[in-house]
């Protein structure tokens, strides 16, 4: 039997709660938003208790998401700065997709793909928040023109689709790369996972006193 080290801690409890609050908000936002976006998905409003309630709570969930995501952002933004290795990694994206990671540079806590997810969602959520306020007629109808609202509606929809697509990538990556889920469920990953995917980070983690 081969030698396994103890799981490597990747996320604190607080970070995991923060993530899941964000995740649940995002899913609820996607469901309620899609319900109001496309008539064929209007049935999703029943999940929330009808169209009126769906319309009313969607922006509030958005506020939860924004605050929650701000927490994630503050936690992780320093770890998501782009470096030269990320560029190399991106150039070899084809190999990564084909499950061939040999010869890639050693990575820190996040690879370029994860960083792109991070920055992508950061920017999109900021845009969604801004355009969302413009569309939140209950409180803010008077502050913008109808043309600005129209533009916001398009931006909001585009950003939402973008965010959903990134979310799909994010979720699929967690499914595809086995051993990932435990990072967000139990807060730790196996040593092998850390070694394989985030070697530099792994070295730092094990190098800690």
């Amino acid at each position: 039997m081969s030698q396994h080290i103890k799981p490597v801690s990747r996320y604190t409890t607080a970070a995991r709660i923060n993530h899941w609050v964000t995740a649940v908000s995002l899913i609820l936002l996607a469901l309620s938003g899609m319900a109001l976006f496309h008539p064929s998905l209007y049935f999703l409003t029943y999940l929330f208790g009808g169209g009126q309630i769906t319309r009313a709570i969607h922006p509030w969930i958005g506020v939860v998401l924004a605050i929650s995501f701000l927490g994630l952002f503050l936690r992780f933004f320093t770890l998501n700065f782009w470096n030269r290795d990320d560029t190399v990694w991106m150039k070899n994206l084809g190999s990564v997709i084909n499950n061939k990671e040999e010869g890639l540079p050693e990575l820190g806590k996040y690879n370029a793909g994860q960083k792109l997810v991070f920055w992508g969602q950061s920017i999109l959520i900021l845009l969604l928040l801004g355009s969302g306020f413009v569309l939140w007629d209950t409180y803010f109808a008077a502050y913008t023109t109808i043309d600005q609202k129209r533009l916001s509606a398009v931006i909001h929809a585009l950003c939402a689709i973008g965010a959903i697509l990134i979310w799909i990538v994010h979720v699929y990556a967690a499914i595809w790369v086995k051993g990932t889920m435990s990072a967000m469920t139990r807060g730790s990953v196996s040593g092998g996972w850390a070694w394989k995917h985030h070697r530099k980070w792994f070295r730092q983690e094990v190098g800690k006193p």
């Binding site: 109001l36 008539p39 129209r150 094990v206």
Partner: protein, 301 residues
């Protein structure tokens, strides 16, 4: 807002309408014709609208103009807008009754996400069905004329119904009934266009060379039309749009974006699935675990 209609539907928001039974008679499109050149701005139409629709508009303040209330509200579905138009030594006081234009291609209906909250009857009337309204305000964004208003109390959208509840029993809208100078006519759209033609001839004979009918093609015509003394410059009349059309932004938002977005999401899902099937999962090998242990051990040693 309107009661259950015995009117057939032509369009229904966020849903489709079954085609009429074979052999069914098509309803005749109706229209209200507002002859601005006959309007004296007395606001009888406004009060008739308040009364017939039992609207409770609060008493406001004057802002130093004759516009009272100063704008459309959830309880004022029509208001008069007064413009003092000075040209040279002459003055004209242009008085336009503002309210829903009942576009033949209604932007509100196009924008509405709630099935059946906005309907268009086969006679052309565009009506808001409150029971189905979710108060999202998309109709406000869809409307090229800035007409619908959302109630802070009921969170529903309101606007002129063209008195669909009167029309269905063969009555003219309350405003047309109340108008003392017959500046508001109601009838079939063809008749209204013909009548407007006579009025325009009269206006031209009185020196209004650019008199004409406002029935903007950008929204495929409207079921509320104006006779204007200066049809070449509709915007003179308190900002009546010169060439109204559903905003291209709304067109994108409620047009190509809807299928493309679903396609993109479906594609992303499918791509992931295919990737998983063809490439398989990315697993951590025993070798990786060993290396990890090795590194951890050596480093910690």
């Amino acid at each position: 807002m309107s009661v259950m209609q015995a009117l057939d539907l032509r369009r229904r928001s966020a849903s489709s309408v079954p085609p009429p039974p074979a052999g069914a008679k098509a309803a005749v499109p109706v229209a209200k014709l507002i002859d601005v050149s006959k309007c004296i701005g007395c606001k009888a139409c406004q009060t008739a609208c308040l009364e017939w629709n039992q609207l409770d508009q609060p008493i406001g303040y004057t802002d130093g103009t004759y516009n009272n209330p100063t704008d459309l509200t959830t309880a004022s579905w029509t208001v008069m807008r007064y413009t003092e138009y000075e040209h040279g030594d002459d003055l004209e006081w242009l008085i336009r009754k503002d309210g829903c234009m009942h576009c033949d291609d209604p932007g509100c209906l196009k924008a509405c996400p709630a099935p059946g909250a906005i309907v268009q009857y086969t006679n052309g009337i565009v009506d808001f069905i409150s029971d189905n309204c979710i108060g999202c305000g998309y109709c406000v964004k869809g409307c090229p004329f800035n007409i619908p208003r959302i109630s802070q109390v009921t969170s529903k959208a309101y606007k002129c119904t063209l008195c669909s509840d009167r029309v269905v029993v063969g009555q003219a809208p309350a405003c047309a009934k109340a108008c003392p100078t017959q500046a508001i006519y109601f009838g079939t759209k063809d008749d209204m266009i013909a009548h407007a033609g006579k009025r325009i001839t009269d206006l031209k004979s009185r020196g209004y060379q650019n008199a004409g009918l406002y029935n903007p093609p950008g929204v495929n015509g409207t079921h509320v039309m104006y006779v204007l003394q200066h049809a070449d410059k509709p915007s003179l009349y308190a900002g009546l749009p010169d060439n109204p059309h559903i905003s291209p932004l709304v067109g994108i938002w409620k047009g190509v974006m809807k299928p493309l977005s679903l396609a993109a999401i479906a594609f992303a899902g499918a791509f992931g699935f295919m990737h998983y099937v063809t490439k398989g999962p990315n697993r951590v090998t025993e070798h990786d675990e060993e290396k990890a242990a090795e590194v951890a051990g050596s480093d910690r040693a």
